[in-house]
């Protein structure tokens, strides 16, 4: 009986503040209208993309020239494009490509950017200097133009598109991670870990990275929105997806010359981009509000 009571007391003293902080954060995320709305939209988009063959009736690639440029009907919910393909199917399949582009390019940016940021922040000195000068050079061009320049050299295609957009987002994560590391490295628990004989790798992976995670998650969500927009823009210019891939930006580009006859392909493909980007921005902003109570004041 005594022990159990003591256990309880100990539990209260030790883990309660931790747990309640976590609970509070989860609660804030859950009660954040923006985050919830964004997450619901995002889940719908992701499910539609994953289960595309079950959601759609028509083939997204199969052409049917006799059926071209039809307005929305019960057969073709959003109408057909200039090759008679079902716009709804193409948009749903396009979601696969856009989400993949978003994930992979942000993955590239997070992987390289965060590594650069950790190295710069953790080691300081000349390492920091060299890395940050490289970042400065990457920031000398606006992100979209950097991606444009890179893809002009690599040549068009979805893989090159993801590389180019990913590289253009590296500076964001390098800077963010560096400042996060600098903020954490001064903390007592890092000093304590170091005093206990933790080597660099342990310090970085066990203490610094887990503690810098929340700004990275927020930024990654927002960067995914941005990279989907950039990728759509580059595909629109003909530098990304190649026909007959149902990519949203490219669909707009190829339907563009027919807007005087039928605007549905342009309108709906664009709306798909807007909704996806909007939902990612909502989640990102909501998470930022929830993870960083300082910004709550602005709500």
């Amino acid at each position: 009986m005594f022990t159990s009571k003591r256990k309880k007391v100990k539990k209260l003293a030790d883990s309660e503040p931790q747990k309640s902080k976590y609970k509070k954060t989860m609660k804030r995320i859950f009660f954040n209208k923006k985050a919830i709305l964004g997450a619901i939209l995002l889940i719908i988009i992701a499910l539609a993309a994953i289960f595309a063959p079950y959601v759609t009736v028509h083939d997204p690639i199969q052409q049917n020239v006799r059926n071209r440029l039809q307005p929305p009907s019960s057969e073709h919910w959003l109408g057909t494009d200039n090759f008679g393909r079902d716009i709804f199917s193409r948009i749903v399949y396009g979601g696969r490509i856009s989400l993949r582009i978003g994930f992979i390019s942000v993955g590239i940016a997070v992987l390289f950017g965060c590594s650069m940021g950790v190295l710069a922040g953790f080691y300081g000195g000349w390492v920091d200097n060299i890395i940050m000068r490289i970042v400065d050079i990457m920031l000398a061009l606006p992100g979209f133009l950097l991606a444009l320049a890179i893809i002009s050299a690599l040549g068009p295609g979805i893989n090159n598109l993801m590389i180019a957009v990913g590289i253009s987002y590296i500076p964001v994560f390098a800077r963010l991670m560096r400042s996060a590391v600098l903020a954490v490295i001064e903390k007592d628990y890092v000093t304590a870990a170091r005093a206990l004989g933790g080597d660099d790798r342990q310090l970085i992976f066990k203490h610094i990275i887990p503690n810098s995670l929340s700004p990275i998650i927020v930024q990654a969500t927002l960067a995914m929105a941005g990279s989907i927009l950039s990728a759509a823009g580059l595909s629109f210019l003909g530098l990304g997806a190649q026909p007959p891939t149902p990519e949203w930006g490219f669909m707009i580009a190829s339907a563009r010359q027919f807007i005087r006859l039928s605007h549905y392909a342009v309108t709906f493909s664009g709306l798909a981009i807007v909704i996806t980007v909007l939902s990612l921005n909502l989640v990102g902003d909501g998470l930022r509000d929830a993870l960083d109570p300082k910004t709550l004041e602005h709500q």
Partner: protein, 309 residues
């Protein structure tokens, strides 16, 4: 301040050298032989060899870079492969067209963005505030090129009010491109103005003014707005980058004879000297605009001047 200006200006040099290395290597990352890219796939081998010699491709890379760079500092980026005109002439011919579009977009953004931001901050969480929060949020997610096309569909195809593309000395040709290009900037300026206004309205001097019995309008428009505008100036500078990127797409949509559309055409036709020159010029302009904004920021906020000395 003078010393700071010089220091900032000198700091640009290594960055621009870095960009020039990047731009120089663009043609070397490209799969394939640069000489073949210039002459086409069917070029006879002797001609390719002459071209290689002429381009200095047989020299070691650092030598090639130094040769390219020593010409680039004199703004000589070679000749366009398509038009055979000097790259810099091509750029200078189109730069004013892009400039006009950028200036009108920034002006429109400031005229619309700042008042909406201030009004939203004056009554936070009012119907007006919430409405504009939703609108700005959606606007940020809209691809520029799609928005441009939607404007064309509505205002020139359906209503027939405005021309769909081209640039003529007629205000009607400017309306759609300006609106398309400025939407994202308007949204961002609105958001920043709103949040800095909210910050400023919490300051002590605002409370003092209010408790003195100063009229609320005067508090907002005189005391608070002046101080809130300082960060907004920086944002306008940052937006310039988004504007350059947006210009590439907007000019393509509206067949606007600017630098942005030119670079897209150059990329499509693999006109490498033109691509290299344009990207270099973009970087220089971007760097200068940021420098000017930074200095302006120092001028507007006397608190910062002591720091720079």
């Amino acid at each position: 301040m003078g010393k700071y200006t010089v220091k900032r200006f000198l700091a640009l040099i290594p960055v621009l050298i870095g960009v020039s290395i990047f731009v120089f290597f663009l043609i070397h990352i490209t799969p394939g032989d640069p000489a073949m890219l210039m002459l086409g796939e069917q070029a006879p081998p002797e001609q390719l060899e002459t071209m290689r010699e002429q381009m200095g491709l047989n020299d070691p890379l650092p030598v090639q870079y130094i040769n390219w760079m020593s010409r680039a500092v004199r703004l000589d980026f070679g000749r366009s492969l398509r038009s055979r005109k000097p790259v810099i002439t091509e750029i200078v011919e189109r730069l004013p067209n892009s400039g006009v579009l950028a200036v009108s977009a920034i002006t429109l953004s400031v005229i619309i963005g700042i008042p909406i931001g201030v009004l939203s901050a004056a009554k936070p969480n009012s119907f007006f505030d919430n409405l504009f929060t939703i609108i700005t949020f959606t606007a940020v997610g809209m691809p520029v090129f799609w928005q441009g096309l939607m404007l064309i569909i509505i205002f020139s195809v359906m209503l027939g009010w405005l021309p769909s593309s081209g640039m003529m000395p007629d205000i009607r040709y400017f309306i759609l491109p300006t609106v398309a290009l400025s939407t994202v900037t308007i949204a961002n300026i609105t958001r920043i103005t709103r949040s800095t206004m909210l910050d400023v309205l919490k300051e002590d001097y605002v409370r003092t003014a209010r408790s003195k019995g100063v009229n609320e309008n005067r508090v907002i428009y005189q005391h608070a707005l002046r101080n809130a505008l300082i960060p907004v100036v920086t944002i306008i500078g940052l937006q310039f980058g988004a504007l350059m990127a947006g210009a590439v797409l907007t000019e393509t949509i509206f067949a606007w004879p600017g630098v942005g559309r030119m670079v897209v055409d150059a990329i499509r036709t693999k006109d490498f000297p033109l691509v290299q020159g344009t990207i270099m010029v973009f970087a220089i302009i971007y760097a200068l605009v940021n420098l000017i904004v930074d200095l302006l920021y120092g001028l507007l906020d006397p608190r910062l001047q002591t720091k720079y000395k």
